[in-house]
């Protein structure tokens, strides 16, 4: 029985394999949730911080970037460097070598540097310092479908997990402020650090898979990950009709694992069309097969989360 002050639930949408349709479905969810005119609106998070696409479909208004300071990188002061090589002797990341511009001093490649600081302590003249890095920006944005927390990690950076944690935390605090029912997190592909950060502490995992051999293989990996972190999960199959044998295989797998299959969305070129137009598919093509199937998935998901729909 949910009370007025009950904590917001958290839904994580993952896939394992990239490109199965998480973001298109998340965008549709944002529209469907806003269209209900709920007094406790949902909050959305795009946790795919190095390839953030949800904002391309939800079209937020003015973006107000807030800096994300991640880890630190080591930098050598050439004035103090005596070229003894003690630093490169301890570096395990092949990040230190003679400066291309001045081979009398050592230089640290910021792309290779892991930020461990071992060189700082190895240096006899104190020529190396750890310098904190801005690694991206994050945003709390207003979209036509509600508030979206998203981020842009600068290309090639580390600490994507840390940035995911940051925007999740901000979303959660905001959700408490506005008494939101649910925070919906559009997750990244894979199973590593940013996925772990995204799914930590969530109440339900919705795995969006596709019926290819690749989809099934990666479904198993991401389900294993969600289970490891104690997130109860359900599955929906996108592009379900492109390989019926694959869809059968997923149904059998789900049954064997005791995981609910809550929807099958047929391949529908309205989905990429809507992506290109920059709107959720349920807005542009509400009567399409895809939109109808996504609505079904949405209803089942909200009822699993025991959300009030008023």
């Amino acid at each position: 029985m949910s009370t007025q002050n009950s904590k917001a639930k958290q839904l994580i949408i993952l896939s394992g394999k990239g490109g199965t349709g998480k973001t298109s479905i998340s965008a549709a969810f944002a529209h469907l949730s806003a269209a209900r005119g709920n007094s406790r609106p949902m909050v959305f998070v795009d946790a795919d911080v190095d390839a953030a696409n949800l904002s391309l479909v939800l079209q937020p208004g003015n973006l107000d970037p807030k800096e994300f300071w991640g880890g630190s990188l080591a930098e050598i002061d050439p004035e103090k460097c005596i070229n003894c090589g003690a630093c490169s002797a301890v570096c395990r990341y092949d990040a230190i070598f003679p400066d291309p511009k001045n081979d009398q001093v050592q230089w640290i490649d910021p792309i290779a540097c892991d930020g461990c600081g071992a060189c700082v302590y190895a240096c006899p003249t104190g020529a190396i310092a750890m310098v904190q890095q801005q690694e991206g920006n994050w945003f709390q944005s207003n979209t036509p479908y509600g508030t979206l927390f998203h981020a842009e990690l600068f290309p090639g950076r580390e600490n994507s997990g840390k940035l995911v944690t940051l925007i999740k935390q901000q979303a959660r605090l905001y959700a408490e402020d506005i008494q939101s029912q649910c925070v919906v997190i559009d997750g990244p592909p894979g199973i590593g650090c940013p996925v772990i950060s995204a799914c930590a502490g969530t109440d339900l995992g919705l795995i969006v898979t596709e019926p290819s051999l690749m989809g099934l293989h990666d479904l198993k990996r991401v389900l294993g990950t969600l289970r490891h972190f104690h997130v109860p999960s359900v599955i929906c199959i996108n592009k379900a009709d492109i390989y019926p044998e694959g869809t059968r295989a997923i149904r059998e797998y789900a049954a064997a694992e005791g995981i609910d299959l809550i929807g099958e969305i047929p391949y529908d070129e309205k989905i990429p069309r809507a992506m290109i137009e920059g709107k959720p598919v349920t807005v542009l093509f509400p009567d399409s097969f895809a939109a109808k199937a996504i609505q079904e998935v949405w209803h089942k998901t909200t009822s699993l989360l025991q959300l009030q729909e008023d």
Binding site: N53, G117, A118
Partner: protein
């Protein structure tokens, strides 16, 4: 020749292109395919390797020898990743936070730390279709860090003359992609003609520019979007090396584990020509 196949956006067709490129070149030279998407590898579904070698991928983590430890706390102080904590006279190690950098070990004034291997995944090697040498890494479920596995995986692909190494990168544009691209001669960027594809491709263009790696684009599922991609690429001065039209029959066949060159054998010649263009670009690189 070392070629990485990357994308930015997931699901654009990296593995489709990388595996078919490997198959197309298999007759010309010794080809090695290296699956660097250690979180969710898929290359084996297409190239069907038989793995004959397997080794654990490890991070060296600290083990405190309590008889020598004076609980001075120096190791806790130097660890940038909070992988160590001091509780009274005990030092606790948190293996999942540890980067294996060795800093605590170097800095212990009592030499009380030894490093022990902590397995975080596996490294595998075998022979695949058409005599392609197949390497891959696999991250253990619940382990957070793919990058050390990619680093170790690439080291196992021992350098040899007259080989073509194809590195199939993970999706995204963060450190695991950088690790895959490090040291390659060329980056083949596979994208799709949608706003998502273009947005994420720009992240990749930032990376290859920073890393000074020449690149070219493959537009997969050509026809589902518009042509704005072409204009953007002109601004960046990046050549479009191939367009693969969207094709439902192809999509269904790929889903079933057939390769592009299996469904449309004419792509063998097309991909060999692509490789020719790549060698010309790499050979003509003046930076």
């Amino acid at each position: 020749m070392q070629i990485a196949v990357a994308s930015g956006k997931g699901g654009t067709g990296k593995t489709t292109i990388a595996t078919s490129l490997a198959l197309s070149l298999a007759g010309l030279a010794d080809v090695r395919y290296v699956d660097c998407d250690v979180e969710a590898p898929n290359g084996h579904l297409f190239l069907k390797p038989e793995f004959t070698e397997s080794a654990p991928a490890v991070i060296r983590i600290p083990q405190i020898q309590t008889e020598k430890c004076t609980a001075c706390g120096r190791c806790v102080e130097v660890c940038e990743f909070h992988a160590l904590a001091q509780v009274g006279k005990n030092i606790l190690v948190f293996p999942q936070l540890c980067h294996g950098c060795g800093s605590c070990t170097w800095n212990c004034p009592e030499n009380a730390i030894v490093e022990v291997p902590n397995p975080i995944g596996t490294l595998e090697r075998g022979m695949a279709l058409e005599n392609i040498e197949f390497f891959r890494g696999l991250l253990t479920i619940s382990e957070p860090m793919p990058t050390p596995i990619i680093r170790q995986l690439k080291k196992r692909v021992y350098p040899q003359p007259n080989t073509i190494n194809i590195y199939d990168a993970p999706p995204g544009a963060s450190c695991s992609v950088v690790e895959t691209l490090r040291g390659v001669d060329f980056a083949l960027l596979v994208t799709e003609p949608t706003s998502f594809g273009l947005h994420d491709l720009k992240q990749m263009l930032g990376i290859v520019s920073d890393m000074n790696i020449p690149s070219g684009v493959v537009i997969n599922r050509d026809g589902i979007g518009d042509d704005s991609l072409k204009d953007t690429l002109q601004d960046y001065n990046i050549p479009i090396l191939l367009r693969v039209p969207f094709d439902r029959v192809l999509a269904e066949s790929l889903a079933a584990g057939r390769t592009l060159v299996d469904v449309y054998p004419e792509y063998r010649d097309i991909l060999r020509e692509l490789y020719q263009k790549v060698t010309e670009i790499v050979g003509g690189k003046t930076k």
